[in-house]
Symmetry: C3
C-alpha cells in the first residue's frame, strides 16, 4: 500500500515547501495531493492566471521524489466568479441562492457552472496533464457533501422536467406510475411536476425518490464531464474523486465506477461506530470491482473538527486504522492533512504537523508504519447494497430509527463477527462465485433483481433475504402481491404482518432480541422450514425466519438475530 | 351503531369494485365513504368532466346494498386549478405561497378558493344530491388539519382588518382593549394590525388570540358555505365533516354544530394516552348535543403511518375501540380504510385489506363484531371545554408542559375513574340537570360565564372550578381584581399566589402530588372550608382546595389531586 | 444603597398615580424609572406631541419625594414610525425585514433610526433635561437583547464594507489577515465581503468574528449618539443604560464605560446557576471601574415570565439577592416592576404589587429591608474577561458544551469558594495592585496582552493562565508558534496536545476531574515545576498544571481543578 498526504502549498510560505517535501519523503510518503481548493490562487480574476507558484510547488515535491495527485478546483469556485456568474450558485428549497463563503455552494446542473468547470479543468489538463510528477487526478472534492446535490434553481427545475419526460415518455404514464390520483395531485404536464419543497405535510414518495435519483445523476453527469475532458489530456494517469461515504446525496456506486479507482475519505470519528469503518472498506473494494484500485484519499490522522464531540485519537489508533485499510485491500492511502491549518474553517483539524510546523504523535506513527505485502481479501460472502433502497427507506422509515446504513452495518458486522470476508456488491454486478448472498434490505422489486438472485442460486449460492424485501416497485409504490414479491414461491412463504414494535420481542431458539422491525411469516411450502419464531408478545410462536432449500428469509432486524442465523447457515470461518 | 368503511374506487381497477362491495356487505358494513380526494379524477381539466366512473362506483356499491357518504373534494384541489388560480393556495408566515403536492395547502379566506369550492360542490349536489344511494355528505376533509387554518396572504390580511373593525369599531377601542401602550405598539389604523409573523421576541397575546379566533372563523365560514349550498340540493341527507380532534386550528364546537352530526376521526395511536380516546368520545357527544348524531368518520383499524412510532395493534384492540365508541353513544363508525394504499403518502397505513387485497386480522375482527343495542349515556357530571381557553393557555403556558388538553383529560379521567358518566359541554349550552359541573380550566372571564355558573348552582349543581380560572378578560388581558374574578364572593376566598413549581409538592389530607401548577388561597368567608392544604415547600399549610356551599375551587392541577377531591365531593358511582 | 422601582404611568389610570407614589415612598423607595416604552403615548403620530401626562406623572412622583430616572424610548419606536420609515427596522439573515409588534426590531446602523432617535432624545432632553426631579437617564433599553445587534440590511452591508476598509486598508491585507486562500474564498473587493448568512457549511471564523465586532460597535455608536446629545441638555444628571448580561450581542465593557454608571438587569432565574449572580455583580463593578457607580436597573422581585421554567421565589430570597448586591458594591437598585402588567407580553412577570394593585410578599420584603453602610469590596484577585475571547470561543467551541461564561463562572466560583474578593477586569485596565491575576480563557494573542501580563508580574502579581490561551491572533487565526504564544519562555513550557475528552480524566495529586477540555504540557524550563498531572487515560503522567516563578499555566478546565490549584497558590482567605 502506497502512502501519501494532502498538502496546501498556497497556504504556507514558499520557503517552507522544500523542507516539508523532505520531511514527507523522510517518513515514507510517496504521494501528495494538492490544488483542489486553489482556484482563486491560480486564477485570481477573470483573464488573469498565475500558475508559476503551482509549477514550483509541483517541482519542489518532485525534487524530493514525491508524486502528485492534482485536484480539480470545482468544489470552491472563486468569489469573483460567483459574483460574475451568480447562476453557478445553488438555490435552497425556499428559493434563496446560496451565498459563497463556504464550499460546495454550486449547482451541479447549472450551465454556467458546467462551462466554467470545463474551462478550468481543460486549462489544468493542458498545463499539467503530461507533467511527469502528476500521476493522478482528483476530480472535484467530496461531491454531494453538505447536501449539495439537490438544488432548486430554475435550471434544475427545467432539467427535472426533461429528466421525467425521458423516463416516462408521457405525463399520463407518470401519473399512472406514481398513482397521483391519491390526494388528487394528478399532473397536467411535466412542467407542473415541481421540485419538492416543504409544504403542509409530506410529498409523494414517488416524487421524492425521483428527485433523489435526478439530483444524484446531475452530480454524476457533472463529474463525468471532467473525467471525459481530462482523460485525453492526461494519458495514463489515474482519474478518481473522493467521496464522503455515506451521505444520501449521490449514488456512490455510480461515482466510484468513474475513472480508475474507487476513492473515499476515511473519518472514523465522523461515523456512528467502529463497525462502520469495516463496512466502508469492504464497500469501496466492492465499488471498485475487479481490476480497479481502492483509495483512501483522506485519512484522519488525529482529532477532527467537524463532529459533535471531536474526541481524541489515542496512541496506536492511527496505526490500527491504516493496518485495517491495508488488510481490506486499499491500494493507496493519503493522510489529511500534512499540517494543521492556521486559517479558515478547519483550524481545529489535526495534521501530521501542528500549526507551527512541529511534528505530532501521528507523524511518528506514520514513520513507524510497517505494512508488509497484503493480498486483497477473497470473499465467499456477498452483501447487496443499493442507493435506491437507501433512498426509499429514508423517505418513509415508518419505524423510528430504522436506518439503511445502520441495518447494513448490523448484518455486515454479524457476518464479520463469524470471521467471514465479505464483498459488498453493487446492483448489476455478478453474484457468481459466492457461497452466500446477503440481501439485508432489498426494498424495491424488479424482474432483474429476482433474476439476479435466481441466477446466484443456480450458481450454488444460498440467498439470505432481510425484512421489507421486494415490497415496492421502482417508483416506490407497493407491489400488488404478497411480499417478498417474486420469490415467495422459492421460499414457500410470505410476510403475514409487519410490526414497528414498541417493546422488546425475542426469538427462539436463539434467545436474542429481534429488533425494532419485525415480520411474521405465513409458511405455504411443504419443504419450508421455520428456523426461528417469536418468543413473546402477540406474535408468540409466529415464524420469524424461514428456509426453503437455497432461500432464506429473515423477518427481523437486529444484529444479534442475524448473527445467530448466519452462524447456523454458514458457521464460523 | 352502523358500521362502514372509507373507500377509494379511483385508486383501484374497476374490475375489482364489485368484489370489494360484496366483501364489505359480507362482514356487515352498511356505509361507504367515497370521493373526498377525487377532484382531479372527475374534473381532470378546466371544462372537462368525467363523472361516469363515479356513477358506476356508486351504483356498484348500491348493488351490494351499501349506502354512500359522498365527500366534497375541497381539501385537495387539482394541480391544474392550483396553477390556474394560485391565489387559492395559502401563504406561510414568511410570505411563501405553499406549494401543491400534498393536501390542505389552500387558504380558507381566498375568494378564488371559495368560488371554486362553491362551483364544484354545486355540481356534485346537482348530480348526486338526490341519488338514492347517497345518504350523507362529508364536507371537506379534516378542516384545519396540518395547521392549515392560519394563512398570511394579502386576502387574509385584509379580512383580518375587516374582522377587527367589526369587532372593535374603532382602532382606539382596539388599542384600549389590547393595552398596546405596553411596548409602545399602539396601532394608528386597523390596516396596521398585521397578521403576526415571527419577530425579535413574542407578539402581544391579544393579537395572537385574535388571530386564532379569526382563522378559526374563516374555516367555519368556508365550511358553512358548502353546507348552505348542499342542503337544498340534497334534501334529507345528513351533512357533516370530519375533524381531527384536538388540534388548535379550529374551534371544534363551532364546526361540529354545523349540519346534522358531530363527526371526528379516531386515531388512538395519534393521541398521547388511552384516556384521550374516552375524552374524544364524550367531547363529540357533547358537541353534537341533544338530537344530533355522533359519528366516527375514520377509525384506525391497525397500525397508522404518520406518528413517530406507529406501534402495532394487537388482536382484540380494534374490537375494544369499537365497543368503547358504541358505549359512548357513537351512532355511526367507519373504518379507514378498506384496503391499504399502494400509492402516495400513506402506504404504511393499514386497512381491512392488505395492499394486495387479502384480508387482515382487522377484517376478521370486524366480521366478528357483535354490538347489541346501546343506550346513550346519561351523565350527571358536566365538564366545560372551550377553545378560547385552550388558545389563551397555548399562547402563554408560563409553566412548562401545562397543556390544555392534557389538563382536561386529567380531570375527565379523575371523574371517570370514579365511575361517573360525563358530558363535555360547549360554551353556551345549558348546565341544568347536572349534579356537578367541572370547570377544570375556565381561563377567560365574562359576565356570561359567571352567570352560567350561578344559574347552574341555582338549578342545584355543585361547581368545581380548577386553577387559573377567570384570570383574563376576553382579549387575554389580566382582570383588575382578585381571581377567580366574579366568583370570589361565592367562594369566600381568592388566589393568593400562583406557582409554576419546580419540585414536587404534596397536599394533605390526600397525600398526593399537587401538580406542576399550584395556587395558594386566601380564605375570606366564614363558611368557607379548606378541603386540602399543601404539605411541604414554603407553601406548607396554605389552603389548596376550598369550598363554600355549592362552590369549590381546586388550586392545583394533578390528576391525583382531582381524583381525591372528586371522590370526596361525589363519591364513586 | 438607594432603592427604586420601575413604573409605567401610561399603563395605569391617572387617578391611581398618587396612591402608587405614596406606597413607593412608604416602603423606602427613592427612585422611579419611567418612560422607556412610552414613545407612542407622548408622540402618537408624526407632528403630534402629548407630554402633559408625563409632566403630571413626574410631578406626582416628585410630590412624594421620589426622584426620576427617565428612559429614552428607542427600543420601541411607535408603529406609525415603523410604517412611515420602514428602514428603521432590522433585516434577518434571510433578507426579511423584521416586523413591528414586539421590541428591539430596529437596525442600530439605520440612518433613519439614528435620525429619529436623535430627534426624540433631543426633544426629551429639552423638555426634561433640567427638570428638578429627573436625576438620571436610562439610554435605550437592554441594547443588543434578543440578538438584535446583528442586522443584514443594505445599510449594514455598506457600513460593514466601510468598517473593513477602515480596519484593513486594502482588500489584499484583509485576504492575508483572514487567510482566504483556504477554500478559495479570496475577496476581490471590500464590497464582496458579504455579511455572513447561512450557507452549505460554516463561514470563515475571521469573517464571523469581524461581524460580531462590527455589530457590537454599531450598537455602541448608536448609544453614544444619545449620550452625547443628552449630556449638554441635562447637566449633572447621571447617564447610563441597562444591559442584560451576558448575551454575546454587544461588548458589555464598551457599553458600560459610557456615561456615569455600569448598569445591568438582574434576573437570577434567567441565569444558569446561582454562581452567575455573583459573577454579574463583580463584573459590573469591574466594568464601572474606579469612581463610577454600579446600578442594578431591574431586579427580579418574584417569578419572571420569559424563561423555560419560571420557578417560584421563596420567602427571603429577594432579601438575599438585595443584600448580596449591596455587599458587592451596587450603589442603586431598582425593582422591576412596581405592579404586574395587565396587558402585553409580560403579564406573568411579578411585581411588588399584583395585577389588581394589592401588595405581594415582595412588597413586604422590600419594606423590611435593612441594609446598613456597605464598603465596596477591595479585591487582591483580578480575573480577566474579554468579549473578543467569548466571541472566538462561541464561533468554534470544538469541545461540545465548552462555553465562555460557564468557564469564567467556574474559575470565579473556585476563587470565591476560597473566600477571596475578586475584581473582574476589562481588557486594557491596569492590573497593578493585585496579588493574583486569573486569566481563565485568554484566547486571542497580542503583544499588548503579553505586555500587560508581564507588567502585572513586574508589579508583584502571580499570573494564572487557563487553557486555550494565546492560541489565535486578532483575526481568529492560529498563531505560528507553540502556545500560550508569547509567554512560553516565562512558563518554561508549552502545550503538547489538546483534547476534547469523551471520558472522565482525573488529575493528581488533587484527585479531581479535570474537565472536558484538557491540555498536556511539555516542560522545557529548568525551574518549571509540575503542580499536577493526569491520572488516567493515555495522557497518564503528562503534566496538567505547571509553574515557573510568577507564571502558572492550568491546562484543564473544571471548577474542581481550579479550586484545588488556587487553594495551593493563594490559600483560603
Amino acid at each position: 500500500m502506497r502512502l501519501g498526504v494532502c498538502y496546501y502549498p498556497e497556504q504556507w510560505p514558499e520557503e517552507r515547501w522544500a523542507h516539508d517535501a523532505r520531511m514527507m519523503a523522510d517518513i515514507g510518503l510517496e504521494l501528495v495531493r494538492i490544488g483542489e481548493f486553489a482556484w482563486s490562487t491560480y486564477e485570481p480574476a477573470r483573464g488573469v492566471e498565475d500558475f508559476d507558484w503551482l509549477d514550483r510547488a509541483i517541482d519542489t515535491l518532485a525534487s524530493s521524489g514525491l508524486e502528485v495527485v492534482l485536484g480539480t478546483p470545482t468544489a470552491t469556485p472563486p468569489v469573483w466568479l460567483s459574483l460574475e456568474r451568480p447562476d453557478i450558485l445553488s438555490v435552497d428549497p425556499h428559493g434563496r441562492r446560496r451565498p459563497y463563503g463556504s464550499r460546495r455552494h454550486t449547482c451541479p446542473t447549472s450551465g454556467a457552472y458546467r462551462e466554467e468547470s470545463a474551462r478550468i479543468v481543460e486549462r489544468l489538463g493542458q498545463r499539467y496533464g503530461q507533467h511527469q510528477a502528476v500521476v493522478a487526478w482528483q476530480i472535484d472534492n467530496e461531491p454531494g457533501n453538505h447536501d449539495s446535490a439537490r438544488c432548486w434553481c430554475e435550471e434544475c427545475q427545467d432539467a427535472f422536467s426533461g429528466w421525467l419526460l425521458h423516463r416516462y415518455g408521457t405525463v399520463e404514464a407518470l401519473n399512472d406510475a406514481w398513482g397521483t390520483a391519491f390526494w388528487s395531485q394528478t399532473y397536467p404536464s411535466f412542467e407542473s411536476v415541481r421540485l419538492p419543497v416543504p409544504t403542509m405535510t409530506s410529498h409523494s414518495p414517488s416524487l421524492l425518490l425521483a428527485h433523489r435519483r435526478f439530483a444524484s445523476e446531475q452530480v454524476v453527469a457533472a463529474l463525468k464531464e471532467q473525467y471525459d475532458l481530462l482523460e485525453p489530456l492526461s494519458p495514463g494517469r489515474l482519474l478518481t474523486t473522493n467521496l464522503y461515504l455515506f451521505e444520501l446525496d449521490v449514488d456512490a456506486h455510480q461515482v466510484m465506477r468513474l475513472g480508475g479507482a474507487a476513492a473515499f475519505d476515511s473519518y472514523p470519528h465522523g461515523s456512528a461506530e467502529p463497525a462502520d469503518v469495516a463496512y466502508r472498506l469492504d464497500f469501496a473494494r466492492g465499488a471498485a470491482g475487479p481490476g480497479r484500485e481502492t483509495w483512501i484519499m483522506e485519512q484522519q490522522p488525529g482529532p477532527i473538527n467537524w463532529t459533535e464531540a471531536n474526541p481524541p485519537v489515542p496512541p496506536g489508533q492511527l496505526t490500527d486504522w491504516v493496518t485495517q485499510a491495508a488488510a481490506a485491500g486499499v491500494d493507496t492511502l493519503l493522510f489529511f492533512r500534512w499540517r494543521a491549518a492556521r486559517y479558515g474553517q478547519e483550524q481545529y483539524h489535526s495534521g501530521l504537523l501542528r500549526h507551527d510546523g512541529t511534528p505530532t504523535r501521528a507523524h511518528e506513527e506514520v514513520r513507524a508504519l510497517a505494512i508488509g505485502d497484503v493480498t486483497k481479501p477473497r470473499a465467499t460472502v456477498a452483501l447487496l447494497h443499493s442507493w435506491d433502497d437507501a433512498w426509499a427507506l429514508d423517505i418513509d422509515p415508518h419505524a423510528p430509527g430504522f436506518d439503511y446504513l445502520r441495518h447494513m452495518v448490523d448484518v455486515h458486522a454479524a457476518a464479520r463477527g463469524l470471521g467471514h470476508a465479505i464483498d459488498i456488491v453493487p446492483p448489476g454486478d455478478a453474484l457468481t462465485g459466492y457461497q452466500v448472498v446477503l440481501a439485508p434490505y432489498l426494498h424495491l422489486a424488479s424482474p432483474e433483481r429476482s433474476a439476479a438472485l435466481e441466477s446466484a442460486v443456480g450458481a450454488g449460492a444460498t440467498i439470505v433475504v432481510g425484512p421489507r424485501a421486494l415490497v415496492k416497485d421502482r417508483d416506490d409504490n407497493w407491489v400488488n402481491q404478497r411480499f417478498p414479491a417474486g420469490i415467495t414461491d422459492h421460499l414457500g412463504g410470505h410476510v403475514a404482518e409487519f410490526l414497528a414494535v414498541d417493546e422488546p420481542i425475542s426469538i427462539v431458539p436463539w434467545n436474542v432480541d429481534a429488533g425494532r422491525w419485525l415480520e411474521t411469516m405465513d409458511v405455504t411450502g411443504e419443504d419450508t422450514a421455520v428456523l426461528a419464531s417469536y418468543a413473546n408478545g402477540y406474535v408468540q410462536n409466529a415464524p420469524a425466519v424461514i428456509r426453503s432449500g437455497s432461500w432464506v428469509y429473515v423477518g427481523c432486524s437486529s444484529r444479534a438475530a442475524w448473527a445467530a442465523c448466519l452462524e447456523l447457515l454458514i458457521g464460523r470461518a
